[in-house]
């Protein structure tokens, strides 16, 4: 009897151990995902959780402060220690210099979800005919001025369309004891938008500019409109339109300051209204959008590029990552993203889902003729997007008086030349 009991006990123990051993691979896989702070929200965490519930594969989302994400990711890639999934802002020119995809990224060309992305976005995540990234991004008017319509009406102001009217509006708002613009530079990227989103205006004033810049037939320092734009940005800061101590701002107070009427406008996306409504349901202000009127810009910032997810080629969980990307691009999860995203009103995909466009987006887009839809600087000009954070540092330095607008343009040219020469771009030989 003892012998039988011993055998039964041993079998039970062995069975348990084997059972645990067999179930381990499913429960033990953890995908690491590194993302910049501003690119992810609770909706990504919720979807990751849902994915874990379905598959048993965990997703460890590492959120890095925006000011450090780019350098940290590049350092990790260069050191061969990248996470399984990493996000980066890319475009057809930058993908090679930013990622060296053939060396670092998993080829997803044959995955079904490639067709889910808007075809206009695919070149940004492709290199040499192969697709390496998944870009799930919105298609709203990106980084235009988001303003307090109620306040503007009260002060008798119309949305400005020229720099001169913009300055007058800012002056009137400032005199009313309200900070005209919420700007934040400490994250390193936001201050570049005012310069780069008006790329279409540079093209208007200097036809063929992007092509000439990409062929090294002209430099940033040769473009008076760019110099003027930087000077106007500096003037805005010097006149106090960004408020006191804006250099210390990190973006986290934007919703609160706008909702409480302490600030009149900021450069952001229209879906920001959802964040305001959620955090400040008592707020009754009406909101609107207008284009960045620096150097009298009235071009619509068309940008088919955005932050995208890439998978590390040397990663150990490539199959799990593929499952995760399949999951994220499934119709129900795309709909979940639109319905639950704190800021977005749509996702730019080919799958038919219920988008949630806001009236203010429709209003702005209806006003602007298609001929005014122009590619933003970072998507049209080579070797600019890669130095976005460096330009951010330079603009911050300009605001504190440590650099002149001329020096900023020269620095951009120098960095472009350095990158172009390093990559062996024939236009720079």
């Amino acid at each position: 009897m003892k012998k039988v009991l011993s055998i039964l006990l041993l079998s039970l123990i062995l069975g348990t151990i084997m059972g645990v051993a067999y179930s381990q691979p499913k429960g033990n896989i953890t995908i690491t995902e590194m993302v910049s702070q501003g690119w992810t929200t609770d909706v990504d965490l919720a979807l990751a959780k849902k994915f874990t519930e379905e598959t048993g594969i965990k997703v460890d989302i590492q959120i890095v402060p925006a000011a450090q994400h780019h350098d940290l990711l590049k350092a990790k890639l260069n050191a061969g220690e990248a996470p399984d999934i990493f996000w980066i802002q890319t475009n057809p020119f930058a993908i090679r210099t930013e990622l060296d995809p053939e060396k670092n990224c998993v080829d997803f060309t044959n995955e079904k979800w490639v067709k889910v992305m808007n075809p206009l976005r695919i070149p940004s995540v492709s290199y040499n005919g192969k697709v390496y990234g998944l870009m799930l991004w919105h298609n709203s008017p990106e980084f235009t001025f988001f303003y307090n319509k109620t306040l503007f009406k009260k002060l008798g102001l119309l949305p400005p369309t020229t720099y001169s009217t913009f300055r007058k509006a800012c002056e009137k708002i400032l005199n009313a004891g309200i900070t005209p613009i919420y700007e934040y530079t400490s994250q390193g990227w936001h201050q570049v938008l005012a310069f780069a989103q008006i790329g279409g205006r540079y093209e208007e004033l200097h036809p063929g500019l992007y092509e000439k810049l990409n062929n090294n037939q002209i430099k940033f320092t040769d473009v008076p409109a760019m110099l003027q734009a930087l000077k106007q940005m500096k003037e805005i800061a010097d006149r106090g339109y960004y408020g006191k101590d804006f250099i210390a701002n990190d973006g986290t107070k934007a919703a609160e300051l706008l909702a409480t009427g302490k600030v009149a406008m900021t450069l952001t996306n229209p879906g920001f209204v959802k964040e305001i409504k959620k955090a400040h349901p008592e707020c009754t202000y009406e909101w609107g959008l207008f284009l960045i009127p620096i150097i009298d810009n009235q071009t619509y910032p068309f940008n088919p590029n955005g932050p995208a997810r890439f998978a590390y080629k040397m990663g150990k969980n490539i199959d799990a990552v593929k499952k995760y990307f399949d999951f994220l691009t499934r119709k129900d999860n795309l709909q979940y993203r639109v319905d639950n995203h704190p800021e977005w009103t749509n996702v730019d995909v080919t799958t038919k889902i219920q988008q949630r466009w806001l009236p203010m987006e429709k209003e702005l887009m209806a006003k602007i003729p298609k001929s005014k839809y122009k590619l933003v600087l970072q998507s049209g000009v080579k070797y600019f997007n890669e130095q976005w954070m460096e330009v951010g540092k330079d603009i911050e330095a300009m605001y504190i008086g440590a650099l002149t607008p001329e020096q900023i343009l020269k620095n951009i040219d120098d960095r472009r030349a350095k990158m172009a020469k390093a990559i062996g771009d024939p236009a720079w030989k």
């Binding site: 590049k74 350092a75 260069n78 250099i247 330079d394 330095a397 504190i400």
Partner: protein, 290 residues
């Protein structure tokens, strides 16, 4: 047991081999790469002589300010840590009530990670942070500043945070040094009627030379290699005001321009090498004197 036994010299070979393999060879390779155009975008590595160094030492170059900032940080951060730490050590060696608790409290910041310190102090030193709120509460609102964003105050804020973190560690070394000074020197000085400063100058400081040297060596090498505290507090900003050599190296490597990154590292290595040799010689001479 024969304590005077002389072991054969080849016993040193395993350690020496490891040292050469892990430190000397990578160091020499790094120095070699500083004379090349090595970068992430090209598989070719070409020898370009002193070109990277010319770029760094170019009069208008931002790299030059990185070197200047590093040297400035090294000098000032040591001054603001060593002098207060010395007086704190003397104060806490006077058999005070609860001196161990005081020491533990002062040492505590040294064990915190820089990331934690960065998060805490970015919040405390924010224009709407604790420091400014206290100033406003006590009627000193006019003194409120954007401590980490105001060009006039950013370095002082970094020194202050660095001192807050490092003083306890420096103080601990001084306390160990103070305990090794025989009490009868002070008793004899008391009989002769010496005051606090006379005892400090004629007994404490000369007898504390080894501890001072240790703190200087640690402090200077730390100062020249500084990275974390700057990275977490200001990331080199506002603008590039607080960039130091190592944040520059980090950024060059992130940009994929390894050649310039290696040249900056080599410059740091040369600084560290010269200063270490000088300090070690100084320490040896003083120990002989003592």
């Amino acid at each position: 047991m024969n304590l005077n036994k002389i072991y054969p010299q080849y016993f040193i070979f395993p350690a020496l081999a490891l040292y050469i393999l892990l430190f000397i060879i990578p160091g020499l390779i790094g120095i070699y790469y500083s004379f090349t155009d090595w970068n992430r975008y090209s598989s070719e590595i070409n020898f370009i002589g002193l070109e990277n160094y010319k770029t760094i030492f170019n009069a208008g170059s931002s790299y030059f300010s990185y070197i200047y900032n590093t040297l400035r940080f090294t000098v000032v951060s040591n001054i603001v840590k060593i002098i207060p730490a010395l007086f704190l050590a003397i104060f806490l060696s006077e058999n005070l009530k609860g001196e161990n608790i005081h020491r533990a409290i002062l040492f505590f910041p040294s064990i915190l990670s820089y990331l934690v310190i960065g998060i805490i102090f970015r919040s405390i030193l924010h224009p709407q942070g604790l420091v400014n709120n206290i100033l406003r509460t006590v009627g000193l609102g006019f003194m409120a500043k954007a401590w980490l964003a105001d060009p006039k105050w950013v370095w002082s804020s970094i020194y202050a945070v660095d001192a807050w973190r490092g003083i306890g560690y420096v103080m601990t070394i001084f306390i160990a040094g103070l305990h090794s000074i025989p009490r009868y020197y002070y008793e004899a000085a008391d009989i002769d009627g010496a005051g606090f400063f006379q005892k400090l100058i004629h007994i404490t400081l000369p007898m504390l030379r080894p501890a001072i040297t240790v703190n200087l060596v640690f402090g200077i090498t730390y100062g020249l290699r500084v990275f974390d505290i700057i990275f977490v507090l200001t990331n080199g900003g506002p603008g590039r005001m607080t960039e130091v050599i190592n944040t520059g190296v980090f950024k060059e490597f992130a940009l994929g321009t390894y050649g310039i990154g290696s040249a900056l590292s080599t410059i740091l290595f040369v600084f560290l090498g010269f200063i270490s040799i000088f300090l070690v010689r100084l320490m040896n001479r003083r120990e002989i004197e003592l």
